[in-house]
């Protein structure tokens, strides 16, 4: 190792939000939006079945669960962290809710949500107080909580009793023409958007993600922000788990396997940067819908094997991040 005295890395360009960087961040968000609009126009022109209300509502319902997880992941990623445990938290929330379905819907739902939130809180506490990287902490909770979900159920799925009407309604009911999960999905994103945009907590999330050290020096309680963020991610994963269990009529200990990756993909496709500090709930909404619509188009086409869908998903994700990288580079150059 040559011990040349060097300045501590060239300051990353995103530290200064120049006009160019701002334009690029707007473009990134809109890039995904443009792609979403194009995909919808293509779908409407190519398939009669695409623009029907049934199909569109179906797309929303199928993606609402992943949407909750991705919304929580957005908060976490905005702080510069990552939450790999969401799939496992989803599973345990569903299992707990299904197990307690006999004692009333309210108890079941609250217990499911509380379990996932508490585990998210543990993630946040360990990350903030013990100062271990989020990747490692949530990897560990992912493994342990999946184990707990399997142990709780003896590796069997737990059916939701029909008596728990309220719980079943959460998954299968509808309000007017809209399925309940879709309504909750819309409310959650609205709340997330307002939180990030108009509340002090939201500004703190961005501040911690942009530069944690600076945020601390300015007297911001970065630890509390981090803990709250991971708890929120747990809560939203739990919500997804409870609704999924209600919809399937069973809490499955293996539910949500691999969802952390899908959620990260949706967040990244939407234009939120993994380095933290940039992006938002709106971006993730676009990311979730874009991925959902593309899958819907695959299904309508009907001839694309699931394996090719995987390949296209991977290629699509790569393409998006490469374009984002280009935009960022150009923004940094100007």
């Amino acid at each position: 190792m040559t011990n040349v005295a060097l300045p501590p890395t060239a300051a990353p360009p995103r530290a200064r939000r120049t006009l160019g960087a701002h334009a690029a961040s707007v473009l990134q968000g809109q890039g995904a939006l443009v792609a979403l609009v194009l995909a919808c126009v293509y779908g409407a022109l190519r398939y009669y079945a695409f623009p029907t209300p049934e199909n569109l509502i179906n797309v929303l319902r199928q993606n609402s669960m992943l949407g909750f997880v991705a919304l929580g992941m957005t908060f976490v990623i905005l702080t510069g962290g990552i939450d790999l445990s969401v799939g496992a938290l989803l599973a345990i929330a569903g299992v707990v809710a299904a197990k307690l379905a006999g004692s009333g819907s309210a108890v079941a739902v609250l217990a499911g949500l509380a379990t996932a939130t508490a585990l998210g809180l543990v993630n946040g506490l360990v990350i903030a107080k013990a100062r271990i990287q989020p990747f490692v902490v949530t990897l560990a909770t992912m493994i342990a909580v999946r184990g707990a979900a399997l142990a709780l159920t003896s590796e069997q799925s737990v059916s939701v009793g029909r008596a728990a009407r309220g719980l079943v309604w959460l998954g299968r009911g509808s309000i007017g023409p809209l399925p309940v999960p879709v309504v909750i999905f819309a409310l959650a994103y609205l709340a997330g958007w307002v939180m990030l945009r108009y509340t002090r907590f939201g500004r703190y999330v961005y501040a911690v993600g942009d530069n944690e050290e600076a945020a601390r020096l300015m007297g911001l309680q970065a630890d509390r922000v981090l803990i709250a963020t991971y708890a929120l991610s747990g809560l939203l994963a739990g919500l997804a788990g409870v609704i999924l269990a209600a919809r399937l009529g069973a809490g499955q200990p293996v539910a949500g396997t691999g969802w952390e990756l899908d959620a990260i993909a949706a967040v990244v496709v939407g234009g939120t940067l993994l380095t933290g500090g940039q992006g938002g709930a709106g971006s993730t909404l676009v990311g979730v819908l874009l991925l959902g619509v593309i899958f819907n188009l695959f299904n309508l086409e009907g001839t694309i094997s699931p394996w090719w869908q995987w390949v296209l998903r991977g290629a699509f994700l790569l393409g998006v991040v490469m374009i984002q990288g280009r935009l960022r580079k150009r923004a940094a150059a100007t």
Binding site: M1, T2, V4, L6, P8, T9, A10, A11, P12, A15, G80, I82, V126, A130, R131, I132, Q133, F135, V136, V137, L139, A140, M142, I143, A144, R146, G147, A148, L150, A151, E155, N211, E212, E213, L261, I264, A265, V268, L274, T275, G276, S305, P306, W307, W308, Q309, W310, V311, L312, R313, G314, A315, L317, L318, V321, M322, Q324, G325, R326, K329
Partner: protein, 336 residues
């Protein structure tokens, strides 16, 4: 994350302990004769001794070989992962690459092992070059690039294996990879040990090894110092993929079939866990290949002994998680 790491760690760029440091760090050094791997070695010793005392049939030669047999594929992957992580990156695609290599080998075996093995490793290498190329050239975060290849490459593996079929393998010369012996030693154990030896040599005694640590410690400084950072990154991801490909071949040979849906599933997590427990920091700049060996052995001993004690699988997951957290907790950089 990167900016705060450079701001707080003075020892980012090497295997040497921090030059400055208070009483606490001095005390830690006194307690750590094997550097960051000390905790892992102690944990492994406790596990082995405890099991030898309390688990019947644990301390037998056959179980010893059993542990080594089962750990060898994860170890191959984890060795590559150690290099990747020491550059500050991560490779999530290794499991899919294993599946791809197994699938390519299974469908090309008609042309002989001489064609199948190079074709499979070549396919794996291509994925590694794509990973490394995108990470180095486009500066896309490793976690995103390899997440994309994790998803896409498993799809490719399924397509290659005749659209998701289980392709049986009968060629004895290929099955030897997963079932044969070199003298008294199982082939896969020998392969894994050779990979470990190669990586130790590369990290300690070659310019490449120093480039890897430099690129992980402080990429900007490394670039300014003339280190070929991009080439190093591409090489590291290629090596990781090639080792994963090798692991995939062994796994396919052991199963006697290419199962593109199952081979290598979640192996990235086991490998990352082994690396982290072994003392390689996720922030990069440090590589302890032998620590990774210890980490992988810890995970395997837990799995094997819990299996022998008929403890439910779920509990072994809980213990694994606890060990990962504890290992990283004790290795975390002190705030300055």
């Amino acid at each position: 994350m990167a900016s705060s790491a450079t701001a707080q760690s003075p020892s980012g760029t090497g295997t040497s302990p921090p030059a400055s440091g208070g009483a606490a760090s001095r005390r830690r050094r006194a307690w750590a004769p094997f550097g960051p791997t000390t905790g892992a070695i102690i944990a492994l010793a406790v596990l082995v001794v405890g099991n030898a005392l309390f688990t019947s049939n644990f301390a037998t030669a056959s179980n010893f070989w059993n542990v080594l047999l089962q750990v060898s594929t994860v170890l191959l992957v984890a060795v590559g992962m150690t290099l990747v992580i020491s550059t500050g990156g991560i490779d999530l695609s290794v499991g899919s690459v294993m599946a791809l290599a197994g699938a390519i080998a299974a469908v090309t075996l008609d042309h002989g092992v001489v064609v199948a093995v190079p074709a499979a490793l070549g396919g794996a290498l291509v994925v590694g070059l794509v990973n490394g190329g995108l990470i180095a050239r486009y500066r896309v975060q490793p976690i995103v690039v390899t997440l994309a290849t994790l998803i896409g490459v498993r799809g490719v593996a399924q397509i290659v294996s005749h659209d998701g079929e289980l392709v049986p393998i009968e060629a004895a010369s290929f099955l030897w990879l997963g079932r044969g012996y070199l003298g008294p030693f199982p082939v896969q154990v020998v392969v894994a040990l050779l990979a470990v030896a190669g990586a130790v040599f590369a990290v300690r005694s070659t310019p490449f090894g120093r480039y890897v640590l430099a690129a992980g410690g402080n990429p900007a400084a490394a670039r300014l110092a003339g280190v070929p950072v991009n080439r190093t990154l591409v090489t590291v991801y290629a090596a990781s993929a090639a080792l994963a490909g090798l692991a995939g071949l062994i796994e396919a040979a052991r199963l006697g079939a290419s199962d593109a849906a199952k081979i290598g599933l979640n192996v990235e997590l086991d490998a990352i866990a082994a690396v982290v427990v072994g003392g390689t920091a996720l922030t990069g700049g440090r590589a302890t290949v032998l620590g990774t060996v210890v980490g992988a052995l810890i995970m395997q001993v837990i799995a094997t002994s819990f299996n022998m004690l008929l403890v439910p699988y779920a509990w072994s997951l809980a213990l694994k998680a606890a060990i990962i957290l504890l290992a990283v907790y004790f290795q975390r950089p002190k705030r300055v």
